[in-house]
Amino acid sequence: MGIFDLPRVHFHGHFAVNPGTGNNDSISPGTGFVSTADSQRVQPMIGNMTPDEFKTWIRQLTPFPAAPGLNLLRGQWNLMGDMTLKFLDVEVVSVQTTVGEVITDPAVDPLIGASVTLEHAFLCDNNPEGFNTTQIFSDALVVRSHIDRPAFGAASVFQSRHPTCATTRGINWYRNVSFHGTSANESSGGAGGASAGFQSSIEVKPEDLLDAAAEGTSLEIAQHRLLAGPYSPAIRALVAVLGDTARRPRGLTFRYNLYLSFPQMSDAEMAAEFAAGRDTENPAVGLVLGTIAPWFDGEPASATVGRKLNPTTSYVNPYRTDHKPYFLAPLVARVDPTLQNVSIDVSNTFPEDGPDADKYFMGDVTLGLRDATPPATDPNINAAPISTIGVIDNTKDAFVSHGGVVDISYAGLAPDLRARLEGGDAELVISTSANGPLLYEVEHQFESDSQCNYLDEPAPGSTWADVLPTLHVPTRPVPLQGRTPLVVYRRGVPVTGPMSLTVEQWRMTPTGDEDQVGFYRWPRLLERRTVDLTFDAGWGDYELEPAAGTPGLRLFRFVPPTYWPQERMPDQLDNQIFSESVAMVRVLPYDDYSQLIANGPTFADVYREVFMYYDLIVPAMNKRLNMSDPTIWNTPATAEYVLRSTNEAIWSTTTYMPRTRDLSACRRALLVAFCGQVIRTHAGDAAADAALAAAGLVTQ
């Protein structure tokens, strides 16, 4: 189940992330800054400035109202970021083929020390102003062992198929109690104290496991072969599991946690770079800890499900003088009666202390069991005694070597306690000797397997009821279908049958107040409704119908009747989003370009309506093709590229453009009209017709 199944391959190292921050608008939940972009309309907030004036303006420092005397960049810490994510020195640190045994010796398994990379990985935010909607796309997970002792049959390299998109699983604002980056508050990217989890899955076909059987007939198979060999026990075990059809294997899943990440230059240093005419990038570097495990039919691709533990209460961070409450981040556990083992994913949970990622000492950390808290009740009033299941080694070494996955055997416990653990009436609890119970098990774990979604605002005269059913096409990318798959488990067991729950809808973007530009406002509750859903073996789906007509980002909060708290204050929702079961949908704006298209759009039209936003707000795109240079966009080769790269058919891949995934259908139609015109002019009607047809468009 999720990352808990064996064998597991754990990896660790540094990563570099290079997001573009031009459209961030706010600094952190509740802290507004400079509104540079209108996320609703997907346009720069250029005011009376010319594009060139705006380019200068956004690269300059301005006073940060929340900290008098401090100046920060209007475009924030990495305006020139190209959104790439790179694993730098990430290596396999251990493998597990049996519970309780962690192999860290490369002499035992040559997979130890193998490099792990994500090919062509990049990230983009579903909500450009938000914090918990990052999507990570990549071409492949690549594991490379030493050439002299290949881990994958005769090959030293395994290159996976296209991983599914990963989305933020639990932004944890409380990850480091004492360290927020070397620039401290001198950077608008002081995220060193935060962390987040991500999970992707990868299809492995039965033919991939066959030794050269398909060689010469399919490059696709040859490219992704996964073979056992004489050297790696972990890969032998993995191939055996994936070849066991009785278990209905689908492939691999990998979960990784990004933490202790912070930019290398302060805002003032970056401003000096810009002033000197250098468009410098300022990627953040941090640590990644992850696990690769088998993926089975029926399991979500982007999350691990089982038994979820949420925060009960806060603890005191002794480094903070402002008494800001700190929480442990949620985790997922699995109880395996066959192996008499509880597995816990703590990769995002326990805080670090300081720049070396040492674990913050919280006293003894134990996993326990107590009578379940009544439904929809504050767990802090649950005074039931806690029976200890086992102790968690909360040290840096243990954390890294186990990939953040803790196994606790309960074979030695009393029979009645074992029975309660495996039953459905007691809840798991994580306690620390310093602070008591800090996490407790919620009755239902509810996850969206497509957390970040996109819709186009209906044209005037059309409604969501008209539009949404037309999007429910299984061949479309799931995030564009107007509905999200949902998975629900009750204390580790998939739910089957009807379920009534509350679904709230919140407006998250723009975070700026519509009446007071630049002034932060918390999420706004738009709607709360009770819905009846039906689940089959844990799976159901929910139609993401926006409640009001304006574009922007909506958050759907799924609240089972057992959940506590049933309602959240807006600031609580923003700060403790990691506890919630949510799905987002970004509504891209409608624009009427019919006249422009009928007249034949010019480059000036396309620049104003489409390219200017990227030129000014995502300027890294200019490093490859200058968005403001008409000579580029008036060539058929580029026009073909635009048609191909904006095709919805490749939306889920890393070659789709724009990477920001905020090109509305209307603006694409404008671009298509322009590109078709360019090709028709320079390469003839046949080439234009072929290009438009290949782009999935009917020729005109």
């Binding site: 990379t117 690549v142 290159q159 198929r161 296209h162 060689e215 490059l219 696709e220 390469a683 290949a694």
Partner: protein, 406 residues
């Protein structure tokens, strides 16, 4: 001319001329660049000769040929699609781009020159030549793209090796090319170069020198080289195999080697091409003069294209890469076809220089390239006035090129 320094012993390619792995890797990549370029031209030349009735084998310009494409894991679906000669040539050009990107990371200037034809590489046991598509030519292409097992003989045979009769047939055809006979134990193919590149790149990755880009994704580049190798060894090999057996030319895709028997037959896949140079007053200057003039314009587009790519790789300017694609899709492809199908003449792909860096700095290179484009413009006007431009040739290619060089 030889491939210079690419040596092999009984076990394959030797890559230890330089003690320093960065120098060795740079050397190998430069060799690979020259070979990719030369092979792309050989495939294009052969494509021009294919008769219209076999369009699916020749290939047609389609949306995928107009832009830059990236090979990668997710793109593998596309790579499994049936390949034609044009696509194979396009993919070799993409490989050329990859190799030059890798060179740039190593701090090396781009390598845009091709080898002079016939290119007698000491890596391969035959010269690579610009030839109309015939069976010996296809046999050499098969050899180039094969992995080390496919066409092996004697003690090197493995379960993956083709049937002995097929291997013998391929070797017999290669022997007709006029180069040295195929050594029974010789194992070097295109993949040997990339295998060596990956091996040496791994050595660089294990201990990268401080002067190279910090935190560079070495593994990603090694993987890309691996994909380049696989595209040749699987995708291209299968295509040339179907051409060699004749299966590519039949409706039911069943082998029909008889198709290659009679060059005068209407069924024969290609037309014969006269080869020569577009330079005037040379022993092998193309005749007739109208064909030479068109070939000269083809050369101009080819050199402009290479100059643009050189500039693009030096400055990381993708704009010029797209402009270079325009030179191919709007002009050079149509000239090559018209020369072959209209005059029975092969596109000469004459080499202008050892380097296509046309200026001592970028500014001057743009000026010189602009002059070259204006030279082409003059030629276009003259050919246009004489009614000699191919029907699908797009004269706007000049304006596009000038705009891109501003």
């Amino acid at each position: 001319m030889t491939s210079g320094g690419l040596r092999h012993d009984d076990d394959g390619l030797v890559c230890d001329d330089f003690a320093d792995p960065v120098l060795e890797l740079t050397h190998l990549l430069r060799q690979a660049s020259g070979i990719e370029h030369s092979v792309a031209l050989a495939y294009l030349y052969a494509a021009f000769s294919v008769k219209d009735r076999y369009l699916p084998v020749r290939g047609s310009l389609g949306p995928d040929d107009y832009g830059l494409r990236r090979i990668g894991a997710h793109g593998s679906q596309a790579l499994t699609a049936p390949t034609d000669l044009l696509q194979a040539a396009t993919q070799e050009m993409q490989h050329l781009a990859y190799v030059n990107e890798f060179l740039r990371i190593l701090g090396s200037p781009p390598q845009m020159a091709s080898y002079e034809f016939p290119f007698a590489a000491d890596l391969f046991p035959f010269p690579i030549a610009l030839r109309a598509l015939d069976r010996p030519a296809v046999a050499t292409f098969l050899w180039l793209e094969a992995d080390e097992a496919k066409l092996a003989s004697g003690r090197r045979r493995t379960p993956e090796t083709e049937p002995a009769a097929f291997v013998d047939e391929v070797r017999a055809e290669i022997a007709k090319v006029g180069g040295p006979s195929v050594d029974q134990d010789r194992v070097d193919h295109f993949g040997s170069v990339y295998g060596s590149i990956m091996e040496v790149a791994q050595r660089v990755a294990d201990a990268p020198p401080a002067w190279l880009e910090k935190d560079h994704e070495w593994h990603a580049w090694i993987d890309r080289m691996h994909l380049v190798l696989m595209q040749g060894e699987i995708s291209h090999y299968l295509m040339f195999r179907s051409i060699f057996t004749g299966a590519a030319f039949t409706d039911d895709h069943q082998p029909d080697p008889g198709i290659w028997v009679d060059p005068s037959s209407a069924r024969y896949p290609s037309i014969a091409l006269a080869s020569g140079t577009a330079w005037r007053a040379r022993p092998h200057t193309i005749q007739p003069e109208n064909a030479r003039r068109l070939a000269w314009l083809g050369n101009l587009h080819y050199w402009i294209l290479l100059g643009m790519l050189d500039l693009s790789f030096r400055s990381v300017d993708l704009k010029l890469r797209y402009a270079a694609v325009d030179q191919m899709t709007l002009a050079l492809w149509w000239i090559g076809l018209d020369l072959a199908q209209g005059y029975g003449v092969g596109m000469p792909f004459d080499q202008l220089a050892q380097s296509y860096a046309f200026g001592r700095d970028e500014k001057i290179a743009r000026r010189v390239l602009t002059q070259l484009v204006l030279e082409a413009k003059t030629q276009i006007e003259k050919l246009g006035a004489d009614g000699l431009l191919p029907a699908n040739y797009e004269t706007s290619v000049v304006e596009l090129a000038l705009a891109s060089l501003q």
